[in-house]
Symmetry: C2
Subunit: 501 residues, 2 copies
């Protein structure tokens, strides 16, 4: 039956009619259309174009594009932690167990992980919540981190990076057809995974604004305000916290965390605590407090009732192993029947990547002082974290010396989120072009200097304030050059749009 058609058609290839497609912008799931994800948005596509243009011999006022848009440490030249890679390589190719160039400390960890894998192979599926011995190591790590607060390994679920865990938990909470009545409280500015997930699930984004004038601290009164306002049109069910903050770099005080947990308790909110930067604290007067430990210290009434999920990842900290897509979540006080539903949902995707699970295991079970590998491991770790602390300080100092830029201290995480003054003339020009003023600013910065940063509008900000997010990950030398270029660009941008040129 097709043969006739076929022979008719082969001669008239050029006459093939334009047939309407099944999947078009009109028929596409509108919730997908609504998703925005600035960290890899239009500015990053533009950066890619410029990179290709340079590669093909094109010329620009700069020789390379510096991608300060994403927390991708290795891409910025950070070296992997040797011990972590040794363990994962041993798991991948167990013949290396016979190699004298691999340390015994790494070998026994690799053996132990493989013992937990089906057929002793990284190529088998794990149970959907992850390899059992890795879950146990994570629980032990959490107990140590939280100075004895108990952690049950059956509450630990390995994930494909933290993003996967966050999406999964939101999927449980955002209620199908009623989605547009489910409120999800998120900080503004926020990491745009949250807004993207909320759009995709058609839930209601409930913004609570962080206090820029107070180092981006979370203000409990603002939380109350946001909640009460949201209750007029939806049912807020979950509060998301990012601590240390992305993009703000703020590290929350214990008192602040207590207030949030008390609020969640009073209002019956499910707490999602994004703690992927827990090892990235630089300011000497700041310390990471886990939501779980603070909850425990608030007493049994709280610790036995507030539903809390905390997320961690291999991608940040001192390892920066983004490509392994490793992570975990600890789930506290979840209804046992709901937990069974969570396991079912995870099982549809089978399991997180085993190499990422192995990488996570090294992070929670690193070399101990009595082990031979400790010294090198400790040196590498300190070197990464020391450099990050230095870069955090440097970034804040240089940016604050620029007229029209104000940058809060980078207390933790991997980003600066400076406020930039954009002259009214530039704001008008942007509006005429149908873009956000900080998008215009960042596009100009990219085109004139090759520096790729993300407009503040991608993270959310108060009306008529403008920011950008940049990572502090480039090497000190490169960061110095980068910040110098930002300063020069900013001054000339101000001049241009203030009519001083």
């Amino acid at each position: 039956m097709n043969n006739n058609k076929k022979s008719n058609m082969t001669n008239i290839w050029c006459m093939v009619p334009m047939r309407e497609k099944t999947l078009t912008m009109d028929t596409l799931n509108p919730q997908v259309k609504a998703v925005e994800y600035a960290v890899r948005g239009p500015i990053v596509l533009k950066a890619g174009e410029i990179e290709r243009y340079l590669e093909e011999g094109g010329t620009k006022p700069f020789s390379e594009v510096i991608k300060a848009n994403i927390g991708d440490a290795h891409a910025m030249g950070q070296q992997p932690i040797t011990f972590l890679r040794q363990v994962v390589a041993l798991c991948t190719f167990p013949e290396l167990m016979d190699s004298p160039s691999f340390p015994e400390d790494a070998k026994w960890r690799a053996r132990r992980i493989l013992q937990g894998c089906g057929g002793h192979s990284l190529g088998s599926y794990s149970a959907s919540p992850g390899v059992e011995c890795i879950r146990k190591d994570i629980a032990a790590y959490i107990e140590q981190r939280d100075e004895g607060v108990p952690s049950d390994w059956e509450n630990i679920y390995l994930t494909t990076g933290a993003s996967d865990g966050i999406m999964t938990i939101l999927r449980l909470l955002v209620s199908g057809k009623d989605s547009s009545r489910t409120g999800v409280m998120i900080p503004i500015p926020q990491y745009p995974l949250y807004s993207a997930a909320i759009s995709e699930m058609d839930a209601v984004q409930v913004n609570y604004y962080l206090d820029e004038d107070n180092c981006w601290a979370l203000d409990i009164n603002e939380l109350h305000r946001a909640y009460q306002a949201a209750k007029q049109h939806c049912q807020p069910r979950v509060i998301c916290i990012i601590n240390p903050g992305n993009p703000t770099g703020q590290v929350q005080s214990k008192k602040c965390i207590e207030e949030v947990l008390h609020f969640a308790y009073e209002e019956n909110l499910f707490v999602m605590s994004d703690e992927v930067y827990q090892d990235n604290v630089y300011a000497p007067d700041c310390q990471f407090h886990s939501f779980k430990k603070v909850l425990y210290e608030m007493g049994p009434e709280y610790f036995s009732s507030v539903e809390l999920v905390s997320f961690h990842s291999t991608s940040k900290g001192y390892t920066g192993e983004c490509g392994f897509r490793g992570g975990y979540m600890e789930v506290i006080n979840m209804d046992p029947e709901v937990k069974a539903q969570l396991v079912k949902l995870l099982s549809v995707r089978l399991c997180p990547p085993l190499a990422g699970q192995a990488a996570m295991d090294v992070i929670v079970n690193p070399p101990q002082p009595e082990e031979h590998t400790f010294k090198q491991f400790h040196q590498e770790k300190s070197s990464v974290l020391g450099a990050l602390a230095e870069k955090a300080k440097l970034t804040e100092q240089i940016l604050n010396a620029v007229p029209g830029i104000k940058c809060n201290p980078v207390q933790g995480a991997m980003y600066a989120f400076p406020r930039i003054f954009i002259p009214p003339k530039a704001v008008e020009e942007a509006k005429a072009l149908g873009m956000q003023p900080d998008m215009l600013y960042c596009l100009r910065l990219l085109e004139e200097t090759g520096i790729c940063v993300v407009p503040g509008s991608g993270f959310g900000q108060k009306d008529r304030t403008y920011h950008f997010r940049m990572t502090i990950l480039p090497s000190i030398e490169k960061l110095n050059v980068l910040l110098g270029k930002v300063r020069d660009f900013h001054i000339s941008f101000l001049k241009e749009y203030s009519g001083l040129e």
Copy 2:
């Protein structure tokens, strides 16, 4: 403010009141509740319980649980392909480039992959669609597989296993608030990822039944019937095909594929072709035909218009690398604007795991006859595929010799899906227990023999027919024992419920 409460509470831990939870079975997203995933369902949880019981010294009529429920080759003792693991280990720990025990063929591949990674590290994020050189290798592989049919690397998207790709494409197609009017045509029996995804997205599952009496072939008339019936209550927009079939083991003929594509063309359906078992064809009279190649051969009217996505994976074939979560999809004729939306959606999850991408690269770019590593690679590959072919035949033969079991030939993939006769008395007993008759059967099989297989009801089957799915992955010796036990169990089950005992 909390301190008072805290000191009050610490003394009355035991008196903590039961506070209502935020997330309960009543408030859980009902679409999550609706999800079913038999491959890791209740029978597998039961198998885990029995395993733990045995480990703790409990006794059963058997000494081990054999998990024939999931296509997890390495867990069943299949050895990894050496060359693949060498390349991934080199990428993970590039210091091994200096090791004389790694072949040059593996080293240059690893170097090339790392060249394509940010900072030359597997620890950096890749572009969301995957590492560029790997996408190019995949396109070259497809062109070779399809004897010259062009493949554009920009149509290739790496995924986190095939499941991730399938979910992502369905997410584009199933239209938000209108979801319950979007029909997704799937074969029955099917791989339950499809029904799970449809439940989660609240779309309409449109069943087309495969023809058991004709080796589970797809019958075009049945496709028309299912489509017309579905049109009464929804808009069928997509047709899913699994070829070679899971769980059926059927390999589709070229004629059959032409008919499906013609049907999709006429009815404007988006085609999702799950081709993860493309390397797993055993029957001498069968051959894998890719949907894309057949579409091409139908002429430009078809090849330039039918929207088609094909999925592949590292988890199956001769590598069986499930734990790496590698995979890709090739997207044909997708509207360019929709493609941009796809990239945006993928970017929210950042990227698929890099080790899985590297594993995928080895599969599409294996050692060539002129390379030193070819011989060993080829031996290992042939050994795995040869054994699978033998096991496919063995399974069919032994099962068909059992009265009350009828098994179609396992032409491809990794499973047998035999039809089992269940006596009316057993059917009644199952109904009284509120379970499917084949669930009762499989639970009894597990409890009496330690063999874990999945009831046919988890995949879908015609009313009043019963099946189970078992993998053919155990070693020949183990498979012989397993099939013998199934035979003995079946005979005694028949006796028991036919009142002959």
